[in-house]
Amino acid sequence: MLRKRRENEPHALLFSQLNEVKAAREWRLIPFGAYSPSLNMAIDEAIFRLMAENKLPATLRLYTWNPPALSIGYFQNTESPLITEYLKKGYPLVRRPTGGLAVLHKDEMSYSMVGTFARDGFPVSKQEAYKKAHESVRKALSDLGFEVNLYQEEKLWYKGDLCSSSWIAYDIILGGKGKIGGSAQRTNGEVLLQHGCISLPEEVNRDCLREKVVENFEKIFQIKLKQQELTDVELSLSKKLVKEKYEKWDWNYKGGRFLFLGRD
């Protein structure tokens, strides 16, 4: 009887409306995995491309790299001495579909988020996406007891070809260590792919960090993350992109500046 009465009360109605809003702001969470450099980039691009075609729900993916590898920006020149040095050390190289500078994916956690601007709680701009994703990671590390901040200067501080030595607003800074997290983006104007990498402090528990990152993405974006595997279509496009793009010398070593590959 009490329950029935409460259902008819205004605040009960409001609660049910709120649930509907929450349901509308549900994103996919792709289960964590460690993949090859080419497959990681192919999966992120496949989600991005299919999102643009089918308006899939916004998607968050947490992942890492096996083997450790160097990823470089869409336009980055592989002839840089620093990149050559990493190649001599035997790290495989993959060119990202996104901008920015070289990142060594070793002892790190990567993430990608893909969504349609302003839909289902997805940010309205590239800047908002950068800030909110980094704030989610910052808060996750802070919850685990690390002293982390977001870089506050608007002006780019650039000191070389590595992402970690080039700081822009909202990059993730660990007290006493410097920049540990940055991201890069690709957009067709409607859909955004943003991926980034966090160099992990030695003492961090990786499982706990992943849980905290998911929890803080939900809080900061005001969304619900629902775990779902990649679809068969996403997987088959990923495999195709591995073969036709991310394992190709032309793409990895020449890239966007010298070789425009159409709607890559």
Binding site: T98, G99, N188, R257, L259, F260
Partner: protein
């Protein structure tokens, strides 16, 4: 505010028809939104472009964005100067910042696009979103 002699797309490219050639670039609104453009990926002369498909890429502040062709056709000329001076897209988007000129497959394709006044309204709506 936007040049009257040009036509505009919803993806913020401009197009101008001269003697059968169509020149394409990005609008001042797009350039401002992107902020400092540091790299440009250009297609090759003689290649084909498809209406609504990406024909170039731009990088600004770690973000790579696509530029879409308003028409289908063959690429007649590419502004290679942008590769060394991508800042021209920000400084002079309707002049020295042009990107390609195209020989269109069909005539009159630009008629479907917005004029300066309509584009200005469209941009205001976009800003309000």
């Amino acid at each position: 505010m936007y040049p009257k002699e040009l036509k505009y797309t919803k993806t913020h490219e401009w197009a101008r028809e001269d003697d059968g050639f169509i020149t394409v670039g990005i609008t001042s609104f797009a350039a401002e939104e992107l902020s400092d453009i540091v790299y440009v990926g250009l297609p090759s002369e003689g290649g084909k472009v498809e209406k609504g498909s990406s024909f170039a890429t731009l990088e600004s502040v770690k973000a790579v964005s696509d530029v879409y062709s308003p028409v289908s056709g063959k690429i007649h000329e590419v502004n290679h100067g942008l590769q060394d001076h991508p800042e021209l897209l920000n400084k002079d988007p309707y002049g020295e910042g042009w990107i390609i000129s195209v020989i269109p497959v069909e005539k009159g394709e630009l008629n479907d696009f917005m004029n300066a006044e309509e584009y200005e309204k469209f941009v205001e709506e976009e800003k309000g979103k």
